[in-house]
Amino acid sequence: MGSIPTPSTETFDTLKIAINDTAPQLRKLSDDVRVYLPRPLTGPATELYLTKPYRRFMTTPSSIMRSTTRTMLL
């Protein structure tokens, strides 16, 4: 391949705007993503939760502590 092409400013902006417009929903997705993990993979799907709070985050900021002590979804 020769020089690496640069997309147009219009495309650049379109991508950015599309993501920014959806950022709140994406944040919720990132925070609350639930994983259904059958073991083995082809077994019945079960939603797995890790419900007990993490107690080993003693060195992390309190804001992160609070967010991670919410129900953590596996």
């Binding site: 391949m1 020769g2 690496i4 092409p5 640069t6 997309p7 219009e10 495309t11 650049f12 379109t14 991508l15 950015k16 705007i17 599309a18 993501i19 920014n20 959806t22 950022a23 929903q25 994406l26 944040r27 919720k28 997705l29 990132s30 925070d31 993503v33 994983v35 259904y36 993990l37 059958p38 073991r39 083995p40 993979l41 082809t42 019945p44 799907a45 797995l48 890790l50 993490y54 080993r56 985050f57 060195t59 992390t60 992160i64 502590m65 967010s67 991670t68 953590m72 979804l73 596996l74």
Partner: protein, 401 residues
Amino acid sequence: MTLLRDLNLEVTPHAYGVATSFEAEYGSGGRLVVFNAEYDALPGIGHACGHNLIATASFAAYIATIAALKQSGRPGRVRLLGTPAEEGGGGKALLISHGAYKDVDACIMAHPTNTKDEFGPENEGIVYRPHVGTSMFNISFKGSPSHAAASPWNGVNALDAIVLGYNAVSMFRQQMLPTDRVHGIILESGEKSNIIPHKASVAYCIRAATIERMATLKARVIDCFQAGAVASGCDMKIEHLASYAPLSPNKVMSQLFTKSMAARGVQMDCDLRIKDVCPGATDQGNVGYVVPVIHPTYDIDSGQGNTNHTYGFTAAARSDKAFNRTLLVAESLAELAWTILDDDEVFTSVKTEFDMDVIQRRKLISEEDEYKLITAFDPADVKNKAQGIRPAFKCVCKHDE
């Protein structure tokens, strides 16, 4: 899936017969680019590998690419594929075997990590970073029980088969490559000391830098245990579990992504000379043997010592900083997808590189053996496919009869 529907995008649950997969697709004609929305978690430590961010990045990139397709009116298709169970379950391997990547032109995803810890405080991520491959398997031995004192000569000792195999593997280590790894545990070794152990089993894992080396290494390790089976007179059975093929990111795609991130103010490392093979494995590696792939690793400022699979990384994966960096990464993933869909010259370069790699591999490993290594075995189908990689000589045991 709820969010996709909220955005008026169609989604198919249980895609390709995999209960925990889903698929969404937009566009028509042209080329097809897939974003892998990878999800999994680690028992006890949750999102310690940042799968919440991986899925989010692919989701965001999917939405953005749709916007670019709508704006341009150009042909092209983009797909969001839910790929479950990356942490050992081999979800993508199963999806490959179920045809999820058929007719796909490129596959894209990104992975959060702690490259600052590994490569220095200025490092924002490594775009081109091959990973080793790994293959997991269990081997069980069947002998005959007998009273260990009164009539040991009537027994066939399955634990002996394991001990011989374990020692043979240990001797083999001297001839292994520096990038080879073989590690395993004994799952069962007998139930009572006064009974000759008639059932014993091991769980093993091999890792290697290339898929052909994986095949060789796996066959050699199986040979070692086969030797134990022959010497002890036991029957031997192999259960092949997930194999994660070595990851070989597409270089053209890696360069494009690096340039895109730089345009967004993030300078990531993209040295195309292989200086470092990541010792971790990913099933995105498997996809890379079917279509051109990219798997950039980006730093999320998780802090010193907080590498993947630690409590600290779990905390960082939920931080605003990590989320914002993930959205930036998603923009560049989308830009890469758009370029592949839109630019014929770029796609030709991506495809040519991929095709040349296939030609090189065919000199070293057959298409059939490669396919066996990159596809998952359905548990119900294991018996039919159980001898994915044969030992160097024909198995003389009766277990498979």
